[in-house]
Assembly symmetry: C2
Homo-oligomer: 226 residues x 2
């Protein structure tokens, strides 16, 4: 079945990474191809044919198209619950927590993007002359990261966001990895750092680590002072 | 079981409405309380105790907290698949489409909010003197609405986003209703209008229609010229 699956992804794109981790946890033998976001390959006919939004990931299983990362993850889990790792917990308590953290993970990623890619998302003619947008985006992101630090305080060491490893971790980990790559302080966010350390050695995450992050292990330090 | 469920919601808040529709489709007898977003009641201790983000919806099932609207919907469907309407289709084709449209529905709602609530989301000191932000947000929303118009062209009359009524409709309908309330043209978006007409008479949607929309059936015409 994995042979009929193909994934187009961009290196270091957190939503793409979510689908990659889910596939690694559950199936082997799917096809994948890394495209360059920098070179604008997400706007190529190859992508547009699958994803009219011209975004990555672009995922197909036979004729079924799932371009929204979490849609792809939920679909894979729902179709193949007992293949590889079960990614939606079975108890009501863990299940509620997994769903809740998954969707909060979208917010975390949005807030990271809003600061790190401010100049990408806001065209020059809309940027005002004062410091307010960057200052506000920084405050919003700090409050968000502190919320996750608090959530992780309640998690036992060695445990995951919703008990066992789940789609909550699949969703959230790429954003956390990305924050540390962009300079987030291990000292000021110790619980996030502990969580990062726990996850980064997991087989599915090692296998899917963004290739260009290996070549240049550190990103620029835009989050260094947070 | 519904007796141990309570929902705090704001009138006309599309994410809140999603949870309301899901509950109406599946269960009876849950507790709910409408709060005023205008009066800032989403920042009250009553909400903050459940949702540290100070946002609505805030939903509890026993001790399980689900404040992200789609997390609550997925949880309810997953815990009670055979209660009331089944909201995740069972065939792979419909399931893929339902998940895909659900998550695209978040994007649709974000783009609506970005235009309709521009002044709410962007503080005065960050608004530039030119027309660019409103113009760009309008273009982005028009492109988004045209994409949905195209999706709905492929849907048979009388059919839903993913075949049978599903969480895709639960997610997307409140945003469509909201767009028409804010003046979207029935003539220029005929497939969206047909979809709106089909859904608005559904029992779960009628039962959960925002109360203040009944008092004042039309919103202001901010989307009239789109």
């Amino acid at each position: 079945m994995a042979k009929s699956m193909s994934l187009l992804l961009g290196s270091g794109c957190p939503p793409c990474w979510r689908v990659r981790i889910t596939l690694e946890e559950k199936l082997q033998g799917y096809r994948r191809k890394m495209l360059s976001l920098q070179a604008g390959e997400h706007k190529s006919p190859e992508v547009l044919e699958i994803n009219p939004r011209g975004q990555l990931p672009a995922f197909k299983h036979g004729d079924n198209v799932l371009n929204e990362s979490m849609a792809a993850c939920l679909y894979l889990e729902n179709r193949y619950p007992s293949k590889g790792t079960r990614l939606i917990p079975q108890t009501a308590v863990e299940q509620a927590l997994a769903y809740q953290r998954m969707f909060e993970g979208i917010t975390l990623n949005d807030k990271l993007n809003a600061l790190v890619y401010y100049e990408w998302f806001v065209p020059e003619e809309e940027r005002c002359d004062n410091e307010s947008p960057l200052k506000r985006r920084t405050e919003v992101l700090v409050a968000e990261l502190q919320l996750w630090e608090k959530y992780l305080q309640k998690v036992e060491p060695g445990s995951y966001l919703a008990g066992s490893f789940s789609l909550a971790d699949v969703t959230v980990f790429p954003s956390i990895a990305y924050a540390f790559r962009f300079g987030l302080s291990v000292e000021r966010y110790p619980k996030l750092a502990r969580y990062y350390s726990l996850l980064k050695g997991r087989a599915s995450i090692k296998a899917s680590w963004p290739p260009y992050w290996m070549e240049s292990p550190r990103g620029y330090g835009v989050l260094r002072d947070l």
